[in-house]
Amino acid sequence: MSEANEYHPSMLRGLWALTVRELKKWLKDPVMVLMLVLQPLIWMGLLGKSMNMNAIFSANSLSNIELHDIPIPGSLLNPPVNGVVILPGALITQQLQQMFSDIGSKVMQNTFGVKDYFSYMSVGMVSMIVMTTTMFSGMSIVWDRRLGFLDKVISTPVSRAAIIFAKVLNATLRAIFQATVILALAYLLGLQLSATFTLLNLLGVYAAIFLVGVGLSSVFIAFSLRSTRMERPMQIISLVTMPLMFASNTFFPPYLMPDWIQAVAKVNPLTYLTDALRQLTILPLDASALIFDFMYLGIFAAILATIGIMLSWRYLTR
């Protein structure tokens, strides 16, 4: 029959329409968008600036230290002298403070790879926000389902894949938007970019975020599709965020953590995302490390997206 061929529902058009719907919903709530920007700003401002690691390793940390004068028997000196030599405590304190300050910045450099903790932490913040945003935005499918919107979409000839990909794309685009905002704010607050940073590196940042976004959101969409209530995916999210966040290099280098946490951090995709982001922004770029990060993230995205899409598919073709 000719009518059946009158229209040409295309995967791309459907995908675009459904994604635009999500983005429109998002932008029509400016308070929500503002909150999404404020939240990382508060985290970054409070955590990044309040946990002032640099200050620990500065002369200030030794300011109230008063060393006594040290008498040294002259016979111990080389060449030996008669009597007792007095080392003035004030001089030693001054020397020590000076040395500690120098050592401190070396310690920072060795521990975090950069001299200031704020830069280290704010990039970690980007991965944290990417993770929560991609998990949360998949949840809107619970509402789509409960309100009957999903069934209506299923009854149209739009590609089933477009239904899921629109959600994934929406989650990823939101994460990319937020990442850009956080990086810009962090830069204004004093993030120190490395010498190897160019604007092109931002594309790499977005690519890494995209991979994690695809992986995490597909699984959470599938999970949300199967829960009749909003509470369930929310609980799962709050359950997994903390371990993923702290058993990774988001806030602290894993090699200083106990072995068992290190083991978790080694498989935690957030570790690789954060590392890739740091390589591209604040660290001197190490190509081989970056390639490894991307490979890991690519495999992670492929596996999770496959699982997620398979699970969702079963629901969409009940």
Binding site: M1, E3, A4, E6, Y7, H8, P9, S10, R13, G14, W16, A17, L18, R21, K24, K25, K28, D29, L147, G148, F149, D151, K152, V153, I154, S155, T156, P157, V158, L225, R226, S227, T228, Y315, T317, R318
Partner: protein, 334 residues
Amino acid sequence: MSEEVIKAERLTKVFNKNMVAVDHVDFSVKNGEIFGFLGPNGAGKTTTINMLITVLKPTEGKASVLGYDIVKQANNVRKVIGVVPQEYTADEDLTGHENIMLCADLYGVPRETAKKRSLELLELVELDQFKDKRVETYSGGMRRRLELACGLINRPKVLFLDEPTLGLDVQTRAATWNYIRRLKEEYGMTLFMTTHYLEEADALCDRIAIIDHGRIIAMDTPSNLKDSLGGDVITISIKEDVDVSGIIRGVEHVKDLRNENGSYRIKAEFGEVTAPLIIEALRKNGCTVTKLSLSEPTLNEVYLEYTGRSIRDAEESKEAFRTQRMTLRRARAT
């Protein structure tokens, strides 16, 4: 084109391996008619519609829409049908116009055509003034009309309406019926609808299937269904204190009679014609009729006859219905 637009054969849906929602249902819908599924909540109406609109796969049996198999040629079915779901599915954060355009994108209606058609449809359902207002500001009746417009954006050959007036007040419901009739005339579609409102089935449908516990227990035109009860009910009182049962029974078309405290309750076909005949017969025998009433059977009586309970009784057990629905939802989720 084949005369049978929708054809279902032993269509069955079982949830969770043991909950039979639709039980070997057979029916066919003819071109251009309004076919209604009438039954209480939880009878399997929505599940049937969901199978026909390809949202659910049947567990057993098969069905076709315009000759396309709902499982094997699901995508062809989707292109030629329009769906007006039970829920308000329009996106609250978008405007009416944006919602219709979203539907157009999903159906792949060319943009220019869609724009023109959207305005035309919004005018038809009298929402053109509100087209750029967000749906969250719409009333229930307006949302229902928007759903109607969305369901028509692809000029469907068959329109599926699931409880089209659920939750609307009486006036809005009657107005919605008018829209449905108008849309049907305008576009010459075949309509398949479900309802648990008897008046709705009576007012709109050309043919009705009464469904209960997943089975079709009666299927015919509303008037045939009512006639199948044995016709109208005539109640007569006479002045004289004599038994006239024999006389009344002798009148043509009288099928049954009961004497209730001096008044006679008569079941008869063609009540309008039969009543004067009875009066005539009684007069000839010297009796005077003091009171007469004539009532046509309603679908409620039909429903009572077939299911053994009033549809309103079925509605009473709301609690049971809710539990059942929750279970169904969960069942669908797994």
